[in-house]
């Protein structure tokens, strides 16, 4: 058991609900504390009658929502300024292109709700940083709050009920929790890479097709040119009469079609 966990549990056992509220609030603001394990332990204590499980859930949800809101507001106040500065300054534009910052904002506005919701219970380690990003990306506060509360309800009820049900084995349940969280993260990354790989493959194929389309008319036209034509062409006086020499920029067969898949992946 880590020193952090032992300290928080001792604090919780000595001071009860206020200690739990403070620990969860600090963790929700962004300090990496093993709060899921504390909730599992709290559930185990509640199972033996030391604490009220409903009160524990209420304390946990209010503390985490308050902490998340503070994280969001910090991100909104200073994070968005930092992002604006990054977009304008020479140092920032070297690190991230302004286009990338705009795109990340658009992307977060589109899918940020899911990120907020899932990081409350499934990948809790990324919760604090997600709050800061949500604030700095100027994600709508109402949507943030709705997703946050929905996620935190699951994030509080799940470990509390598991701790309540399995009592003394809460540490092992916590191990399963953290391992499953890592597994989910690894699976997500693998899926994203797989999708990206498919896109690249499709793009590579379209390039190959374009190159093939460029090569075929060129060889055809080359085969149509007879030796006499070649002799004509080789003579500078006959050059204007070169019959079938196609100009790449005006021949529709040679002009490469733009890929239907849109812009280059990863650009």
């Amino acid at each position: 058991m880590s020193v952090f966990l032992t300290t928080i549990l001792t604090f919780f056992q000595s001071y009860g609900y206020p200690a739990l509220w403070v620990s969860i609030f600090i963790a929700a603001v962004g300090v990496p504390l093993p709060v899921a394990l504390v909730l599992l332990a709290a559930g185990a204590f509640a199972g033996l009658g030391d604490f009220n499980v409903f009160l524990l859930a209420l304390v946990s949800i209010t503390a985490s929502v308050a902490g998340d809101t503070v994280g969001y507001l910090v991100g909104r106040k200073w994070g968005s300024r930092a992002l604006d500065w990054l977009g304008r300054s020479r140092f920032g534009t070297r690190l991230f292109s302004p286009r990338a910052i705009v795109r990340s904002r658009e992307e977060f506005n589109r899918r940020g709700g899911w990120a907020v919701f899932l990081t409350r219970f499934l990948v809790a380690a990324l919760g604090g940083i997600t709050n800061l990003i949500a604030g700095s990306e100027l994600f709508p506060f109402r949507t943030f709050l709705a997703c946050d509360i929905a996620g935190e309800v699951i994030g509080a009820v799940l470990p509390l009920s598991l701790g309540y049900a399995f009592g003394t084995s809460w540490e092992d349940v916590g191990d399963i929790f953290s391992q499953f969280s890592l597994l989910f993260l690894a699976l997500l990354v693998a899926m994203l890479l797989f999708v990206r790989l498919l896109r690249y493959l499709r793009f590579a194929r379209s390039i190959k097709r374009m190159e093939a389309a460029r090569d075929i008319p060129a060889t055809k036209s080359a085969s149509r040119i007879s030796p006499t034509h070649v002799s004509h062409l080789s003579h500078p006086s006959h050059a204007p009469h070169a019959p079938h020499a196609p100009h790449p920029s005006i021949n529709p067969m040679i002009d490469p079609p733009t890929p239907s898949s849109g812009p280059l992946p990863g650009q």
Partner: protein, 143 residues
């Protein structure tokens, strides 16, 4: 071969390489999760059967008393710990610091005390162990 093709091919190989690593990590995490589930099953069975090896430093004396079915007063007396309201919420870890004892030694002492109590009261321990399988609320009511 155009520059675009070379660029795409490099990206393709890079992504493929990263995907291989990600798949490897996923398999490793899956195996770790499976092992964690197995450890949980083993330890939970031990805890349900009242095995004293499952005593941990975060447990308080009242918690141990209820889980392992030993009277609190007996535990406090055998461990020479003052049964005051202030120490009731102290974990074994805190008690060990308070009484200047190593935590592992205190845990071992608690284990010995529980085993000694079970030897002295074989019938009482076995009936309580059977009751342990009932839900906590009914268990509390029965006590």
């Amino acid at each position: 071969m155009t520059e675009k093709t070379v660029n795409t091919r490099a990206k393709l190989f890079g992504t493929g390489f990263l995907l291989c690593i990600a798949v490897g990590v996923t398999i490793f995490c899956g195996y770790q999760t499976y092992q964690a589930i197995q450890t949980f099953q083993k330890n939970h069975n031990l805890a349900v059967s009242g095995d004293v090896r499952t005593i941990r430093s975060w447990m308080t004396i009242p918690f141990i008393a209820r889980v392992y079915h030993v009277p609190e007063t007996y535990l406090y007396g055998a461990l020479h710990i003052n049964n005051a309201p202030s120490t009731r919420r102290d974990s074994l870890n805190t008690l060990a610091i308070h009484y200047n004892r190593p935590v592992n030694a205190l845990i071992a002492q608690v284990q010995q005390v529980i085993l000694a109590y079970r030897k002295q009261h074989p019938y009482h321990s076995s009936t309580l162990a059977l009751r342990d399988r009932s839900p906590p609320t009914s268990r509390r009511m029965a006590e």
